[in-house]
Symmetry: D2
Subunit: 366 residues, 4 copies
């Protein structure tokens, strides 16, 4: 299962299964000199913690993050930063009913085909819990980026058919509701919708928007490591994401050039754009505007209704999934979107330091 | 500009600028034994060739592909396959009007910031012409995949607001119209729309759909090199792409689990799915169903109207872009979508050969 | 400090400092189906354990390895294998005397220049203790290779000027002496020499030889990932190694073609070589003969004599290094040589599975 | 044959066979702003050109290098630099005698096993001619490094048993003799020796030394991308190299710590070392001293005597290799050693730019 390593310069390797001893991430290539501590990282972990809202699973996990290496006296040393969180909620359990049955919408079948063996106690690596390690590593990236003046604003922009209205945008409200929505009216509707969905044992899809401010122009490496390419890949690697948009995204495919092009302006020797349909990226390189991205999540595949499926003996069977699961993924996944975006940006920012000799001389000839 | 290398096992490096001497691709890691010749690759090049339709630029390029290495007596040898195509249409030209002006929607500004120097004779690496090298490499990948029974169907699924209707799907029609649309009625509407758009010197966005048949279950490396993650990154790296969807994509975010989950069925010892909302990928691994993806293209940024912008002296100026440019990108880019999808699948297919010891023993213990 | 990731297909990331909380390795890309447990890995850890011989440091560490993920019911699942060992011997200590002084032959100075900060409590990442994580990961690789019939024989071939004589080679004796030498007479001399060296507070260099049997022909990826290139890089990455030889190594540079070429022979449809000056590698690819390599270690830089050096204020000072350190590195490092060789071979073996379509079809068309 | 890509940040992909149409290299990640032209690169190509001395093959090749992309008006643009040289000496030839016979000391057999097909017209990728592409890319790296004040001195330090004496070191003489030796007396002996060797149709091994001046302290990424590890791997990837030494190399394994440690000194606020046994690298990171390395080459495997071998039908046969081949490889390979060393250093120098936040801020906050 090569594939658990992300990034070229700020390289993150995640490990751990949902029902194993622990999960973790190792960051290789973190610049020395980033001030970081467990408390800071924990504040990100808490945003994806289950049990914090009525729409999240009741499974109790403290998700307590621990730094094992790479930080000395509160500062990164340039050595690999190893982060670990133990699984506290490993209940001894009877899995015999699902061990050999492939849950619809889950990765049980594909893992069995690929590896010939599967830790049937949970989703293993395909569990949403795997993303906790991404969040831990992402928190370190976000801290490093903040020292460069880069900040993130992430929220749930739609639940099912209910979309937030930009005219009702209330930044402060995002952290005041368990759905992390910035529009109170939309939130109220979404809450009613989710109550109805949950009451039927069903689940709902949703979308997460992430806006990154302060990214300097010049980040992204054409042609294959373009900033938007990297972010798209990073977000699509999150479990339930089925679509990614940059800037006005799909809307661009319905638009005309005369409307879609963002004109440049100059003021006080600085370039800016009057509009930002491009989402802050031109030719795969940041242009100094806000980076704007959206990730679309499918509904939680675990639902409380009987479903048709097959088992590993290739027999048609019925399945009733028990246990705890959220009727909506996006609120807890918003911080994962933020983390993956941050990892993408920081990696390309570091990889691009040598884009011109002028920069190389700045670092080595002083 | 590190970033011109794609893939880990089937590694493609592209090079060349729109107005330089030549462009090319080097494939490292192509298995020995793939039957390939220039004629086969050329048939793919011709699909993105300019000048082939009324909606494509009049620039005349033969886009004649040449194999320089890695093929001996019609078969790949395992050595790097070097592919080249010369730029024949390098007209001596007066670029003084655009050399220092940043075209809206183009990468002129971001390249200048990043590299401090820019080949102002054209888009350089950000030109659509760069994708010709991807198509050449992609053709080799598609040939290798065809030897495994994998095939591609790619077409323009919407132009502006006009979408093809699945009920009118006519596979044969795709190659009978210059827009590569599978729905004759939608094509007629799109053609009328594009005539109107072009008459105003404007341009239109569009979407391309790609369906891959015959991909065995088990391809894709969680958690970061998932098949959908890789494809999303690959497609978003194509110049004008602003959104990527897998399976039902954005629709999933509006759906419910009970509707969105694809139930598994078994028949004659084989697993299949009754529906394919997932687009053939579960947990980032192919499930044996068709892989279904969609890429959304913004309108061509080069339009024939005066636009506001800035120059490299940070002055506000007006620009009128001359030269030849398509009012729509997608028809010529469809083959690029196919190529990047093929490169993604083949790379992961090769990287995943060692997913279980059983496979390792098959290769080395015979 | 990007650089802690080794391998492309069997990817090992190590982390941890000599005086931090713990050290570990994460293996990404281990094929599913390798039977492995902590006891097996521990047997390798014990070979580099300090305190096991009169020539090793007295520092007591249990070096108890723990598997945190990727193994289910005694078998690898294809998920990342996370291995950890805690530092038990973190004594609270007064480091003020060495915190700002650069020990000769150590990496204190270069780390300070590179990172601007250093965990002065020990060698940090440059400590020999870092190699314990390599050994843990190497043990997993060796287990996987053993399932393919590949085995290792590793020993100390010279200490200072004292070399083992092939005519006295006694395989069983290797594990019967604390210097891991295969020649009893040479061992006796080496022991006397080391007693003398140690009595003066000095240290000695030495060489380690590793012979790998059963590697199938065809492993190694020209031109830059040749098997010998990869092994050479892997061995030179071990702390004190200053030279690496493949086959007859330096002797080849003094030889003639007529003497140095290994003639091929055929018997019963199998190819073999009458001699093995090449060390089992031709053109960077294994030829089916034994892989033979040698790594040369410098003397332990920590010695018990006063040395001249500088401190971080750029003052000339004297230093007397206290603490526990071995007068010879090689005996404990032999298992590290074996581990790095195994990681190199397994990685290339997995990466090379797709060298021909015939193999690809074996895996995917059955 | 994945394996033709070298480096992470300054990424070089080589392609081409000895008897194909052309060979080339693509550099991805070259910083913009390096002043480079074909003439400069050609001067390096000429150092490995055959036919230039009595000991080199008579094969006539102009080895004329051409830049196809990435350079605009004499300066790199940050886009991939594509370099090509055509094979002019592709004589139509009867290869039937060697097409199915495995030459001793060559890679014919291993390529056949690995790829199942082989371009039998020459060594293909295992030919020494492959290194011409490395030299072309290396020349660009050397130019970039020279802009940072880094320079190279490379020469043949021994031929067979004849070693240059440091006391007779004459830098100017290196380019005045076809063996690139710095010691006139040793050269005279070597010349007599080679005459004798050649007269018998035999060949000789040799060693090449490379000294790099001006490398700033801090280059190299522990633990696996240490500067010495990278260089060792790079040099061992050159066809006939069988051993690599850093600093005093093998001598270190015979030495004592008290003799081998290089004491640090400070003068005028600068650190230097009194001796340089370490070869300028401590803990895998450059220490500001000269980088000193040595590569040992085996004798040319193509000799003019009858040899025993096997053919692809597994029959024991005799072979008499015809054609043109050098009795010694090292003089022409010296520039390859220099090129690979330069590629290693520049790559790590670029990759290491983000080793501390201080550097990141220098580049992005100005």
């Amino acid at each position: 299962m090569s594939g658990s390593v992300f990034g070229k310069c700020f390289t993150v390797t995640t490990w751990g299964e949902s029902h194993g001893k622990a999960l973790g991430a190792v960051i290789d290539g973190c610049p020395a000199g980033v001030k970081i501590d467990e408390e800071y990282i924990q504040s990100f972990m808490d945003r994806r913690k289950p049990g914090s809202s009525r729409y999240a699973t009741k499974r109790v996990e403290s998700d307590k993050i621990e730094i094992l290496s790479g930080v000395f006296e509160g500062v990164t040393t340039g050595a690999p930063v190893s982060l670990i969180l133990y699984n506290e909620s490993q209940r001894s359990h009877d899995y015999s009913d699902i061990a050999h049955v492939y849950r619809p919408g889950h990765a049980d079948y594909t893992y069995d085909v690929k590896y010939g063996i599967r830790d049937y106690r949970g989703g293993g690596r395909s569990s949403g819990r795997e993303t906790s390690a991404r969040v831990a590593a992402g928190a370190v990236a976000i801290k490093a980026l903040s020292e460069l003046g880069i900040s993130f604003l992430t929220y749930v922009s739609s639940v099912g058919d209910i979309s937030c209205d930009d005219n009702n945008f209330d930044k402060d409200f995002i952290n005041q509701n368990e759905l992390y929505m910035p529009d109170r009216a939309a939130y109220e509707k979404a809450r009613a919708y989710l109550d109805e969905v949950a009451s039927k044992g069903d689940s709902s899809g949703a979308a997460v928007k992430c806006i990154v401010k302060g990214v300097p122009a010049g980040i992204g490496d054409p042609c294959f490591d373009k900033l938007d390419a990297r972010i798209a890949g990073a977000l699509m690697s999150i479990g339930a994401v089925k679509a990614v948009e940059i800037g006005n995204g799909i809307e661009a495919s319905r638009s005309r050039g005369s409307l879609n092009n963002d004109g440049f302006c100059a003021e006080d020797g600085k370039v800016f754009k009057k509009t930002n349909n491009a989402g802050g990226i031109l030719g795969g390189i940041s242009d100094g505007s806000d980076i704007v991205i959206k990730a679309h999540f499918k509904p939680t595949p675990s639902i409380y209704s009987e479903q048709s499926t097959v088992n590993s003996d290739m027999e048609n069977v019925k399945i009733n999934i028990k246990g705890r699961h959220d009727p909506i993924i996006a609120p807890r996944a918003a911080v994962v979107v933020e983390a993956m975006t941050a990892l993408s940006i920081l990696d390309l920012l570091l990889c691009g330091m040598g884009s011109k000799m002028e920069n190389v001389l700045k670092v080595y000839n002083n």
